[in-house]
Symmetry: D2
Subunit: 324 residues, 4 copies
């Protein structure tokens, strides 16, 4: 069975353009870690830097981690706040691009101090909104160049890009698994890979279990995040709440590649209790793992070998809803 983790933001304050006063009160990074500590089985956090409160220090965060028994799996620099509204690595202003690089390098230090296993790039502001807004070749080069500078500055650390189709930008430059693989291979650094967010994959019209093998086979799978959505937006819902079949298939694919690392949650429970939302997701995954244990692997493999949709579905629907 897997270990579990989550993004620290799952336990923070949610804001959107309508409830601009926030769906709840502000939460410090320490406060978020303490909430995370209430989730049974949650052992890892992907932690944003800068921390939520300007007065919080690495020592504060480390202490909170120690108190809760949680470990930092990743550091995700905040390169998508106001300063980076028009882009981080692709910003038209070279000073802002440099600021993004510098912040990521600072993030490398923090990763070291918190013993995190990778630094995550989430370049959500890199891309474009309107037709004719940008020279796409230039965006691509800027995107890769900024990431390359960071990655090459710390060859001993693992880095990973989390791609997404869009939001906050109308079009993100690193939008899909295949496109991100192209960029990573162009950069050429061995210590750069992908965080595969199952929800982003559904949103990008990919088949998550398919891109999982694609990224894995090229040796670029660094981490996986799970959640659910309606395939039209990054809704970041409870695991399995909309696509339990694809989630099962994703977990099946994780078995096939021999995944041993933690599975991370990436949810935004705007109107729900974060501890409850994370707990339910973990329970759902654990239930699905037991369900997969009951499946006759030889029979399913045989159906897949024959590409026999009905035979495969019969096996899955039997276990999930008692069909047959």
């Amino acid at each position: 069975m897997y270990e579990f983790g989550s993004g620290i933001w799952l336990f923070g304050q949610f804001v959107d353009r309508y409830a601009s006063d926030g769906y709840g009160p502000a939460v410090t990074s320490v406060g978020a870690i303490e909430k995370a500590g209430q989730v049974p089985g949650l052992k890892w956090l992907d932690i944003n830097y800068p921390f939520n409160s300007p007065t919080e220090t690495v020592a504060d965060v480390r202490a909170a981690l120690d108190r809760t028994g949680i470990r930092a799996i990743a550091i995700t620099p905040h390169v998508y706040m106001r300063q980076y509204a028009k882009g981080s690595f692709t910003n038209p202003d070279p000073k802002v691009r440099q600021a993004a690089i510098d912040l990521c390098k600072k993030g490398i230090e923090i990763a070291g101090e918190l013993n995190a296993t990778y630094l995550k790039f989430w370049p959500g502001q890199d891309g474009h909104d309107y037709p004719f807004q940008a020279d796409y070749g230039r965006l691509w080069d800027l995107q890769l160049d900024g990431i390359r500078q960071v990655v090459e500055s710390a060859p001993e650390l693992q880095f990973a890009i989390e791609y997404k189709l869009k939001e906050p930008r109308n079009h993100m430059t690193l939008s899909t698994a295949a496109r991100t693989l192209l960029g990573i291979e162009e950069i050429g650094a061995p210590n750069l890979g992908i965080v595969l967010d199952m929800g982003h994959s559904l949103f990008a019209k990919e088949t998550p279990a398919d891109v999982l093998q694609l990224v894995h086979r090229r040796g670029r799978l660094v981490s996986v995040e799970v959640n659910d959505n309606l395939r039209e937006w990054d809704d970041d819902m409870v695991v399995g709440s909309v696509h339990p079949v694809e989630t099962l298939e994703f977990l099946w694919a994780l078995r096939k590649i021999g995944w041993q690392k933690p599975i991370l949650l990436d949810q935004f429970p705007f109107r729900e209790d974060p501890v409850g939302a994370a707990t339910l997701s973990i329970k759902a995954i654990e239930g699905m793992e037991r369900l997969l244990d009951r499946i006759d692997k030889a029979a399913l493999d045989d159906a897949m070998e024959r590409q026999d949709a009905l035979a495969a579905q019969a096996i899955v629907l039997k276990e999930m809803v008692g069909a047959g």
Copy 2:
């Protein structure tokens, strides 16, 4: 437990614009009925008229029904073939509009001869493809006027419209449940209602269980069809293969309104065995019904009353994937 039926097309020949030679050989209406007879538990058919082969008679079809023990639940006139490519009731040519009306009136006779319980309108060619192509008020009037003429000609028979967002037209005039209700109420005939196709509802970005109650409360729910899709097209897949949660919710809503009539399958198993595809869908529904039997109704009602997403999801995910 429900009785089951299906569209006769599930057992026919499938064609699309690529495999224009058909995904399999041509099938007569009698042949399709005989295949339907091989599906355990399938007792009703929605039958297209004209029949698949020009030489088939009502007597032939009736005999096949008698042989298989299947009954005609509905007649669906073929008002979407080549003759109606530019529209049936909304065709710009009044002669074609009249032909559509006449064909439906002929369908009324057939419904009588086969003892079908309703005549279904599937006005898939009524709508528009391009901006500026049509005066939408005129389309709306033509759509309602044609249907009104048919419906008023047989006040003793039940009629029902199957709405869809699009396909084959890029935009269908009767696209959603609410829009179709507006049209039905404008027509004003008591013997006209809706066939709620769960897949069409997902495709139209509706919540199927929600529109079920909306249509039911207005006394316009005539029949329900089930299948699944990826929410972006009318993929007509096996029940529960993509959206088992929404399917469960739809079945739950059917219980709430006290549905007693058959549940019909509307699938297009292009590359699968139709008998197997229908059989699996029925098994999936039966399994889901047993699953619903296990749910603590009071607890779920309480969660819904409080609009408590986590509590409701916990109940459902527990039964479906063993969460918790």
Copy 3:
């Protein structure tokens, strides 16, 4: 030529879940009005209440309007902030529902004091996120009941609902034009109608020019808002930047129904100058109006009567891109 207006939010601070520190600094209502005053030709504002700053008074706002020569066309109560995260009129808590009603009634007073022509309901938090979360019949009843209470309390004032498919809720109860018309007709009050937002209509997979006539014919068209998007989200972009053809068609439809009232802008220029974004939208509409003046109305009407897509497109593409 039309008069123009906009939502006051176009000139405010934008926040989302990523740039939670805002895409720019906070803006008071007075500050937003003053920015609006810099847009040539912008004469009307839809104003949120409560005002942006807790210290701003009606007198402050009125003075700003007087200074800039702008008039209040509508008041939109802020029933979608943190307090209403789980719903305004459909909130499971009757106290919150009452608060929403009370705030709207307060909005009626403000509308009177600012001489606004209508009060707008934007019930963005009314709906559901997850399958099985709510009893949809109950949501529907609560939605209509709350609106009814407000509307009946001020029979002399005009009210209007702005529908949207989703966001911030994953599913809004009043999602489409047809569904909202059903609700309005069920409420039965003569002083309740619809604000038709062209972007929401594209997002809802409607044809904006089509629903414009549908709402108009039923006497429920109160106001129109324009903007653009990618049809998958409410991107609130500059008018005509993605769908100039559908925008032209919408303006053509406005001519057909004899629209005389202002056209309002509803944009969220997260990364652009709001004054520039509004100015460009107005210029685009004015240019499109001149373009429509050049169209041979008889020829276009004839093409539409014949539903001749190519003839209609030839007329439009000739004027827009010089085809032919």
Copy 4:
């Protein structure tokens, strides 16, 4: 100015699952070529093999081409008919996979006899429909292996893959530009590239002008096809009828890369006259080219360099709808 061509299918018979008797009568390949000859300016055809009628020979087709002055730009083998319903190169049955390879090799001969410049792979049946249906790594390998065998058999001929997100399969293996580039680079043959269909690109949620540069920079751009759609399906509509801005941007990008080869039309005018539909598309492109000539390139380049959406949009909207 460009030369123009089209797929021969534009002038053939259209069939779908509803109008299974076809939207018009059957058309031979020779008949389609003769219709194509009626389109002013149309000089190239992408020709399917086997030909439409089993009795048509290469000599017949060559004669028709000679008569009309049209040249074969490409041969597209019919690897998506009934025989290949469960896949061509990815078919679970090795005999069918071999048949697909053999048909493509036969297509290479035909390409030679008709002096076509490339052979196009349109592997629309390669992929999957249901979750759990296939081992995606195996699909990927089969897909590349089959294409590799064909491509390596004729190193002197150019080959090109036309990717698409889906249809007829619910999920195609070669779905996006980036993914197809990954596959092409894995195959490693220098004579294999991409046919970039602008509509497929919109459908895949790409930005067509962006992927154009991506494919071009990697030296894999073989041909371009244009058409329009609603971004949710491959509607194959008249060029510019829905997305004139993105089409302008695509043409702008073609200028930027110095495109000199023909532009091909890929349309399915189900309900329109094919000659008229193709003629209007060519006129639209020609009009757009004249429009682009009027644009101040330095000003637009400057706006794009600054990623200034409003400045860029102002330039485009001025020329297109007379904004400002």
